[in-house]
């Protein structure tokens, strides 16, 4: 069954706007990661947040983690057309070392 579940399923914004997507999961985790996938390609790692962290930044990306609510959010600020992609959250559990469980992703379209 699906561990991570992204919301919304799809998001359409204009260049310069911020994009926010959320991920909810079911069981306790060691860390949560976000990946980007361009159409028909493999996934690229964006950012990792550990279970004892609440917020992390990387360039235009901001990730939050609320373990009490079992949820995370990814914010992309000042979006660009090149940010058009699907974004997946993935969780790592203590009893499944090294194996990630992915959600179905949020499809983001950024129009010029």
């Amino acid at each position: 069954s699906q561990q991570g579940e992204e919301d919304p399923q799809a998001l359409s914004i204009q260049e310069g706007e911020n994009a926010t997507m959320n991920c909810s999961y079911k069981t306790s985790i060691n860390n949560l990661q976000w990946y980007r996938q361009n159409s028909g390609r493999g996934l690229v790692h964006l950012i990792l947040i550990r279970s004892n962290e609440r917020e992390k930044h990387s360039g235009r990306l901001r990730v939050t983690l609320d373990t009490s609510k079992k949820s995370s959010s990814l914010l992309i600020t000042a979006s660009r057309a090149a940010d058009t992609a699907s974004y997946f959250c993935a969780t790592s559990r203590g009893d499944s070392w090294g194996k990630l469980q992915f959600g179905a992703g949020t499809q983001v379209v950024v129009t010029p």
Binding site: Y35, G42, L43, H45, L48, R50, W97, G98
Partner: protein, 114 residues
């Protein structure tokens, strides 16, 4: 850019054929994985390996098999392909253990079985 390569990029074959999807990485990673992804859906882990001569089945049952004879090479084989095997297959690798493990993915093989 990740140094992990998958071939072929696209494969269209008839039912009953034996196929092998190739995956190689030049990063010296111990751990390698195969994920299966249908359009608009989550990735499902079908096989993984923690090193040479180590292979395990993943969360999603698959009729495919894998081998890990060399660190850099993790091929996936289907003995008799069926239309239900049509999907995208993504290979990945990782190195660091513990809690800080991120995956490096290949570009995937899109398999269509007619």
């Amino acid at each position: 850019e990740a140094d992990i390569y998958q071939t072929p990029r696209y494969l269209v074959i008839g039912t009953g054929k034996k196929i092998t999807l190739e995956c190689s990485q030049t990063m010296g990673h111990d751990k390698m994985y195969w994920y299966q992804q249908d359009p608009g859906m989550e990735l499902h882990l079908i096989h993984y390996s923690y090193g040479v001569n180590s292979t395990e089945k993943g969360d999603l049952s698959s009729e495919s098999t894998v081998s890990r004879i060399r660190t850099e090479h993790f091929p996936l084989t289907l003995e008799s392909a069926r239309p239900s095997h049509t999907s995208q297959y993504l290979c990945a690798s990782s190195n660091r253990g513990g809690q800080g493990e991120k995956l490096f993915f290949g570009s995937g093989t899109q398999l269509s079985v007619l």
